[in-house]
């Protein structure tokens, strides 16, 4: 449980980090809060030659609200967003999901972008970004690009980020009029990895239901509302399509059942919350 040796570089400007990534590519890893990366290092699932610490880059500690999106820099800790004034009004789904992210002790250190970069299929923040249709802002020494969440997440702990790129920020769409949001999760204990996590956005007579913890990446599908005659079949089909597997924590059958129960409940909650 001791990390393999690595060099450490603390940067104060993003260009220093990008230069290090340009030179060292896949041998370098960005460390921000370290709450996903440090366990990977401890178990030697990751063995970078260089860690680039970006927590002292002031420009990336910002949360900006431009009226349509919440733009969250790579050095913003989860606890900071959790305490952001008015968050529940600006994006209730994100506020609801944050309470389920790890524990208070890890949210105090972990960053929003770090969890997105780690792309754990059971993590709440990637699921929220997918369900809300947010985007990931990537940057190299030479260019910037923004990817929609569904383009970014490529598989279990795999993303479309190239070795010389880093996540500069992520953006979550803010609340829309007439739209309701909800987030629910079932785990063995509060703070454990999700067995199934559900995020729902309801507008008019359509629901977008995001599901995490089942497939290799969080998924989103449009469904009718629970009072529609075809709802139960549509949700059941969704549960089967995710190819749930048995593991130590839950059987595939239990996961499918959770999708049907928790999925319905989350959509109903979101429908009730429509502003």
């Amino acid at each position: 449980m001791k990390p393999a040796p690595f060099d450490y570089l603390r940067v104060e400007h993003i260009d220093e980090a990008l230069e290090a990534l340009r030179k060292e590519g896949g041998d370098a890893r960005i460390i921000a809060g370290g709450q996903s990366l440090m366990p990977m290092l401890a178990m030697r699932l990751a063995r970078p030659k260089l860690l680039v610490d970006i927590m002292h880059v002031d420009a990336m500690r910002r949360i900006d609200d431009d009226g349509r999106t919440l733009h969250i820099g790579a050095a913003v800790r989860q606890a900071k967003l959790e305490r952001h004034p008015g968050l529940a009004g600006r994006q209730p789904l994100l506020a609801g999901a944050l309470a389920w992210v790890g524990h208070a002790q890890t949210r105090a250190r972990g960053t929003i972008c770090g969890s997105i970069a780690h792309a754990d299929p059971s993590a709440e923040l990637p699921l929220s970004l997918m369900t809300l249709g947010g985007s990931v802002h990537l940057r190299t020494r030479k260019k910037r690009r923004a990817l929609a969440a569904h383009e970014f997440f490529a598989g279990m702990m795999a993303t479309a980020k190239t070795d010389d790129e880093m996540i500069e920020a992520v953006s979550f769409p803010t609340v829309l009029p007439g739209t309701g949001y909800a987030f629910n999760e079932v785990g063995r204990r509060h703070g454990d990895f999700a067995i199934v996590a559900c995020a729902a956005v309801v507008h008019a007579n359509k629901a977008m239901l995001g599901i995490g913890g089942v497939a290799d990446v969080p998924t989103v599908r449009a469904l009718p509302l629970p009072d529609a005659p075809d709802f139960t079949d549509a949700l059941n089909q969704y549960a089967w399509d995710l190819d749930a597997r048995d593991d130590l924590h839950a059987t595939a059958r239990y996961r499918r059942d959770l999708i049907r129960q928790l999925g319905r409940r989350t959509i109903e909650e979101a429908a009730r919350c429509r502003a």
């Binding site: 440090m38 290092l41 260089l50 790890g102 208070a104 890890t106 105090a108 250190r109 703070g191």
Partner: protein, 181 residues
């Protein structure tokens, strides 16, 4: 800060419980190992070493942190607080929190206790009026294999009352009925 090379030890300095400390660390050394092996502050206990058990929880710049998930070199220049800093007179008397853990059997073997104490210390500073439910949720980031948690909740609630200057009551957790940790 220049690049710190993997095969050398580097000077790391920070404030520990109000006093400046320093030592040498390879970049890969965790804060928990640095505290225990370099500084000799063994009050912080190390359990799982990958952020699950909570025993090594300390405070960095006022916020909670698993010290096994922080690098010593990341902590350079920070303010670190550990269980050694809780006593008001450097270990002669117990803090209110520690005293109530003793009164209510909030520990048996004591391995997990430093982590619980640092979390509750930070919680009650930020939210002196945290509800029992909030306390329970915050403590979910810690594992204890001795107490079954009920006595830890009693200790936490008793300490909270004393910290708020309220008169002592016995077994308030039970008197509400049906609330278990």
């Amino acid at each position: 800060m220049p690049r710190l090379s993997a095969d050398r030890k580097h000077l790391v300095s920070f404030t520990l419980n109000g006093k400046p400390v320093s030592g040498m660390a390879e970049p890969r050394m965790t804060l928990s190992d640095f505290l225990r092996h370099e500084i000799g502050a063994t009050g912080t206990h190390v359990g799982c070493e990958h952020g699950v058990c909570g025993a090594c929880t300390v405070q960095i710049d006022g916020g909670l942190a698993r010290s096994c998930l922080a690098l010593a070199v990341q902590t350079d220049g920070c303010e670190v607080r550990t269980v050694e800093g809780l006593s008001p007179d450097n270990g002669v008397t117990l803090s209110i929190l520690q005293d109530e853990f003793r009164n209510h059997h909030g520990l048996q073997c004591g391995f997990c206790t430093p982590g619980f104490l640092m979390t509750l210390d930070a919680l009650f500073r930020e939210r002196p009026d945290a509800s029992a439910e909030q306390i329970r949720q915050t403590l979910s980031g810690h594992l204890c294999r001795c107490t079954g948690y009920a006595s830890i909740m009693k200790a936490a609630l008793a300490a909270q009352q004393r910290l708020r200057g309220e008169p002592r009551q016995k077994a308030q957790e039970n008197s509400k009925g049906g609330s278990h940790a």
